[in-house]
Amino acid sequence: MLDGKEGPARRWAMEHMIDVGRFFDAEDFVPVAQAHMMADTESLGESGVAFIEEFARLPKQDRQVRVPTITDPRGIDFDHYRTLKQTDAMAVLERRAIEAFEALGILMTDTCINYQTIMPPLKGEHLAYGDTGVVIYCNSVLGARSNFEGGPAALAAGLAGRVPRYGLHLDRHRRGTCRFNVNVQPRGLSDWGALGGIIGRLAGSYWAVPVIEGIDAPPGSDALKHMGAAMASFGSVPLFHIVGITPEAPDLAAVADPAMEQRTIGEQDLADFYGLYGGRGDKVDVVVFSAPQLSLVEMQQVADLLDGKRVHAKTALLVATSPQVAADAQRLGITKRIEASGALVLKGMCFYQSYAREIGEANGWKRLLTNSAKLVNIIGGYGYQPTLASMEDCVASAVAGEIV
């Protein structure tokens, strides 16, 4: 591949991975079972799309990926982009990107919850996953092995079927480096996200591996989805262990030195975390359920909370899910129940990947309310004033038009 005999795309892939592998002192490559690529057009821009289009013009044998390669959420839902006041130019760039990716044999799954909906990886399976929430969940909850692979690196892995062996592919980087005792039991998804955010901020490094004790029972996939996504967002952390719950941590000694110093996280830490964002009593412009996309169970919970209610005329309520869940939600009547309130269900996209700055300015959205700790961490840089609250309070606020 490196000598170009298998085409310029695979040569680029190998050159890119060798550059990165050398930087991290990788000694060889490891085959991967799947790749998952973050590639929204806000991130790619014109130059990124043109880069992919060059590959798309190559002969089929030179351009197609060699392992199943799937995509992270997109920035556009073509059924609703004008409602969100996204532009036709954004939609055109999105269509060009999709056409190019499909020419490479990439499956446009458009989801950051592939571990709940597509093909959950197995313990010990080596992967090239993008989206930090996907990576931390699959490493921690499923015991798979992936570094954070940005879009170009995931594409390179898909084309070459391998990644440089460094970081989380190696046993020595999967041992715990910091230890937390949780003496408060999170009550809902926003609490789990807040807990992840607290631990992520304290860990604070890609090379940190938090070991967590004090979680009484397996909290469920959506809880760990929110906790992991927030931990990865606040701390760039790609792996955690929960003693007695996650697969690599049957006991403390399996993942850490039992003499390691322990930090306790309690009720006040959770309250302080929510307090960082404030906003109670403020008019709310947009309420967002997204980041990560909602599972079918979360969609049903939102529908249950909205039944018989009407979203305030000056507030938008957006619910983002995967195309796979959206199909089931449609079939089961969940989407109809949500949208009867005036809310909008968006499929295959995620709020912060959807030209958030531009749609905020176009719609006059400033105060944003969400139950996603990951989203409150990201969205401030896009000009929003974010507030974190439970799913129940988010719905109540959307109806009231102000943060309750």
Partner: protein, 141 residues
């Protein structure tokens, strides 16, 4: 009086080619998605220690990376519009910043043997980054 002589810092061999520019330094962390207005070329996140600062053409010196994978695409996109920093120096890079620098052809170095790079370099210093040699030359103004 401050020492104005040139100093040589040593680090792990980095990514990209030799480049010289003026340093913009913070002990805060960095993500192109979380922290920047990439159209205006300034730090836009109000809580960031460089909020309001222009980063274009600078040698950006930060502690480490934040979450998110978008930076891997964004550095090249920013460079294509002439709105990127010249180089990024960190105490410790994550995989995304390394991949983004490799994709963009941007200089990036980390793992400085001399100590905390955010204290070894000051905003306004003239800095030459030599990634292949694992070396950074620092000339105070």
């Amino acid at each position: 009086m401050a020492d104005r002589s040139m100093r040589v810092l040593h680090c792990h061999p980095g990514i990209g080619e030799e480049v010289t520019g003026v340093a913009l330094v913070t002990d805060d962390n960095f993500s192109a998605r979380y922290d920047l207005d990439r159209i205006k070329g300034v730090f836009s996140r109000p809580q960031h220690k460089l909020a309001g600062e222009r980063y274009v053409g600078k040698i950006l010196v930060v502690n480490t990376a934040k979450g998110g994978v978008a930076t891997a695409w964004m550095l090249r996109e920013m460079a294509a519009r002439g709105m990127a920093p010249k180089a990024i120096l960190l105490n410790r890079a994550n995989t995304i910043l390394a991949q983004g620098a490799a994709f963009a052809g941007m200089a990036l170095c980390d793992r400085f043997v001399d100590g905390d790079v955010t204290r070894l370099i000051a905003t306004g210093d003239r800095v030459t980054v030599l990634p292949k040699q694992g070396r950074v030359d620092v000339q105070p103004p």
